[in-house]
Symmetry: C2
Subunit: 266 residues, 2 copies
């Protein structure tokens, strides 16, 4: 059994230190194995442009945010998956970090950028892989990756049991679609969304909350309200994700006929 969940909150744009403090305060209260935070929860999301993003992004080799979260994971003995604005040389990636009690374990760089992110971030350049957390295989993706069924599928084919999904959702489609992702792949998914708005001189972006935990067969375990802070945790049995037979004769992964799917990979 694994105690997993999300922290849905309202980051304040550009207030990196305040947002870190907010996360540390909330997460210091709980016992858990794995907690997922939203996309870009420390910087905020609605950057005026590349220059502003550059000022707020951090290099992992010198990142106060990573130090703070590493310390938190060590002290609380849990794992975090969190969004992170990652500076790397001349690039900035919209990344997700997996951090554990012993520090940084994996960096996933969002491969499908959304809307204006394309003008500021570099598209992810690292493969979709699976990491192990207390014997459970987890896969990571970020926000808009959800609309591409190829992402969860690629993770599930590598054995992912729990999809960790930091998000800053502005459209209304994702939560329902994630039920389908969990049905078609028979995995768990934790979508951690933010709420509130980034009100900036160049415009306002509103985020839709409704963070959720979904079980195999697309069963919704819990969905948070749209506009309220919430730290939700549930005990799940990751083994449930190993039962890929939807009928006694139908294994939803082994029944695939890849020879007919060639157009997907060119």
């Amino acid at each position: 059994m694994l105690r997993v969940g999300f922290y849905q909150f309202r980051p304040l744009f550009g207030k990196v230190e305040r947002n870190r403090r907010k996360v540390v305060e909330a997460l210091s209260q709980v016992e858990a194995d794995l907690i997922v935070l939203p996309e870009l929860p420390f910087t905020g999301y609605h950057f005026a442009g590349r220059t502003e993003l550059e000022e707020l992004a951090e290099d992992l080799s010198n990142s106060p945010t990573l130090w703070t979260l590493g310390e938190l994971c060590a002290r609380k003995n849990f794992y975090l998956v969190t969004g992170f604005a990652e500076k790397s040389g001349k690039d900035i990636f919209n990344s997700a970090l997996l951090i554990g009690p012993d520090g940084l374990i994996h960096v996933y760089r969002k491969i499908h950028l959304f809307d204006r992110e394309k003008e500021m971030f570099t598209p992810g350049n690292t493969p979709l892989t699976v990491q192990e957390v207390r014997g459970t295989k987890i896969g990571m993706m970020v926000c808009f990756d959800w609309i591409f069924p190829e992402v969860v599928r690629t993770l599930a084919l590598q054995g992912a049991q729990v999809i960790c999904h930091p998000s800053n959702l502005v459209l209304s489609y994702c939560q329902q679609a994630m039920l389908t992702r969990c049905l078609e792949n028979n995995v768990f998914a934790i979508t951690a969304n933010r709420f509130g708005a980034d009100r900036r001189p160049h415009g306002t972006l509103r985020f839709t909350g409704k963070s959720q935990v979904v079980a195999p067969r697309g069963k919704l375990i819990y969905q948070a309200p749209s506009q309220r802070e919430e730290l939700f945790l549930a005990e799940i049995d990751p083994q449930q994700a190993n039962e890929k037979f939807i009928t006694p004769r139908n294994h939803i992964l082994e029944d695939r006929r890849p020879e007919f799917y060639r157009p997907l990979c060119r």
Copy 2:
């Protein structure tokens, strides 16, 4: 504009001639461009075994069902996509036929067999391709193919605007998942299901009805009741399926990153 829809009815097991008559009578009343019928609507579904299936299946080179439907399409000047138990040499395929005013246009053989079908049918051996009906590109799949996101994706990547989906659904998941298929690919889908039950000495199978037409963005145009005969038709604009931008910067097909999806095709 294209006038499309489905005929949801209750085939009687083994009563091929009665089922054909039923379809001809219903469809003789309507004006349409394209109508989708359920999976295996003439033979029924719940075969005792291979021998019984062999007796009911037909060879396309000598098929009274094809003659009847070809005559119907010619007389009514419309196109049909229908399930069909297709005998071909030693094989029997769970097929879908596209028939038009000038006769048979395409045969799709179900590539993902469901449950006991595996004991009786040969898995499909023809690629997923797209056909043209009055200037609209249609893709065909049969029932359980829905659970594999690769199927609609493969069709959409070839330009399919309308997915025609003959079905004999017994599980409750498909209708909701098809909204996601139409969202993630921005296509129309017509799922034609049967209702009623096949009550046989070896057991009873109940079918769930709720045939539906879904528009791009996953918008439900109409869903039939669970247990009632219904012939539904709607005017659709297939061009809607060409608008693949979900934001001004995000084309849901061109934004794909196939270099990261390699596990899907091996």
